[in-house]
Amino acid sequence: METLFMAITLLLDWQVVLAILIGSLGGVIIGAIPGVGPAVAIAILLPVTFSLEPLVGLTLLLGIYGSSMYGGAIPAILINVPGTAANALTTYDGYALTKQGRAPRALVLAYSASFFGGVVSIICLMLLSSVLVVVAPQFGAREIMLAALLGMLLVVIAHRGKTLLALLMLGLGVFLNNVGFESIRYTHQFTFGQTWLASGFDLIVVILGLFALSQAFLLLTARKVGRGDDAQNPVSSPSLVVGSAREHFRAFFRHRRVASVSAGFGVLMGMIPGVGEFTAQFLGYTYAQRTSKTPDQFGKGAEEGLVASETANNAVPAAALIPLLALGIPGEALTAMMLSVFYVHGVVPGPQLFEGKLDFILALYIVLLLLNVLVLVFLMVSTRWLVRVIDLPPKVIGICILVLSFVGVYALRNSVVDCLIAAGFGIFGCVLKQLNWPIVPIILGMVLGGILEVKSRAALARIDGIADLVSRPVSLFFMVAIVLVLVVHFVGIYRRRG
């Protein structure tokens, strides 16, 4: 009880309140602008959060992460353009509902489903993190090393049909993490005698280049970027979000079975490093379709399809925090960015965090709940005005991203070299995006590669052979998981080819 009181005291700081407001509302707006997305916004804001208190910084980033998917549903439903990649499946039934003149119902269903997914995910975060905390003291160097290895493996395997490319990019991430001064024998590696390479590649600079600058270049060089079906654009309707919201909410509760299962998929997929919203969405959607009485309506405006998609993708963000907070293992690029906020402030996620700063953890949970409530209220009130934001021309969005990226890169250490490196990674990321090559494995390669390197050195000093490596229950669990993942993957390939 005393810890809860301390957590509430932390939240009463005006900076935290402001961060909740800016994060949640800003996230909705960012999510509603096609082509920007939470990764770009978080990459830009990341250096700004370094000067803030950890809770303030994390609240801001979590707000953007969690609420962008709420916002992303708006253009997905109204103009058939997903605001974020995670809302792609929402267009399938959401836009079909809009074409039937049921846009208000589709929007309220999407908001309700997102809220439900978000809250279920937060409850799981509260319950499962504490379970992991009980297990956490058994996590030594070898266990974290194996967890990082499993994470890297899943990152590659999760890129179905692109595993070779994901492996290539993961290798690049591991390599980039090792350029510059190494701390074992104090030598330079792959600097080619260049002093500017001695400090290596900063993770933030690489993230800004690959996510933010590449997106700006992509938007600025696009020959023709439209807004979808302009002729049928229902955004122009001033009475867009009218009708009985209560009735639409009630309609959502008729789909509670689909919503619950989809939220379960979201939580599970969010917890597994490298899997994320796409897999969760597809599992939820496929389940909804297979168990529906009217499966032929899917893609033609099935409410269950919309509910499954939005619940699953919104259940992922809070679940992705479970391995981050309990073990210090980021599941994907956005949580990897958040991990850097922890590190900058000397806060190390993991068992020690739960033992020493439980008030901080509780405050984070409450923040997540508040964010979801705030976003829901905000959306119910403001959607009719918010939809105007998506009218911004893509090239103007590109210019804004460039100007904002400058703040992110240059403010780090006022280095022109950092900006040149970021511009280089921007061009590289732009080409990768045009070719549809995965980018996220580069970031996870840098982060997980670093963890793997440090922990393997620490573990090696204490173990004596492979048998000793798996002699503890948690390390045995991870080793079995690694072997199982590999077996299932290769059996899957064999069956598909057979």
Partner: protein, 184 residues
């Protein structure tokens, strides 16, 4: 973006490996990069005989290059086997076009410490708006307001670490110069 509806089938196809225009060129470029790194490996890393291989400084970059090499070769092989997509030249031109905007960005970075964040941002936004075809007075006016708001928010309000412009030293000594140096 596209008039084609997003169906699960379309998304599954997007997940799969489809050769894009320019894919082979970029795959060859990546293979070339890996080859250069392999050649440079012996003289860019250190190997000590008295240490376990996992503790060798060279092991981890070596692992990265190894993964890149293995996957890069496999990818190149897949690329060569799959059907060629037309539009390689357009794809290359598209990549080259990004260099122009990267140069704009670098130019912006270079002029900020000289003419100051406010002036540089205004010039950058107006010039890029003009370059991308938004030349109407209303559009340029919006860009001007946007630039000023961004500067006020980040430098004035959030005190983001951006150096003041050298030109501010020419301002009369006193509160005006200090104001410009601290907030704009």
């Amino acid at each position: 973006m596209t008039k084609q509806p997003y169906t699960p089938r379309v998304l599954f196809v997007q997940w799969g490996r489809e050769r894009q225009p320019g894919d082979l060129v970029f795959s060859m470029f990546m293979a070339g990069v890996v080859l250069c790194l392999i050649v440079a490996f012996p003289w860019q890393t250190v190997w000590h005989s008295d240490q376990h291989f996992l503790s060798q400084p060279a092991f981890w970059p070596g692992l990265g290059i190894g993964l890149m090499g293995l996957a890069g070769l496999g990818n190149l092989y897949n690329c060569l086997r799959s059907a060629r997509q037309p539009g390689r030249r357009q794809a290359l031109w598209q990549w080259l076009r990004t260099i122009e905007f990267a140069a704009w960005f670098v130019g912006y970075v270079v002029i900020v410490p000289i003419i100051g964040y406010l002036l540089a941002t205004i010039i950058f936004m107006l010039a890029l708006m003009g370059r991308t075809g938004f030349r109407a007075p209303r559009e340029l006016g919006m860009a001007l307001v946007g630039a000023i708001v961004i500067v006020i928010v980040f430098r004035g309000f959030l005190s983001v670490n951006i150096p003041s412009g050298a030109v501010y030293d020419w301002l009369p000594e006193g509160s005006i110069r200090l104001f410009f140096q601290l907030y704009l």
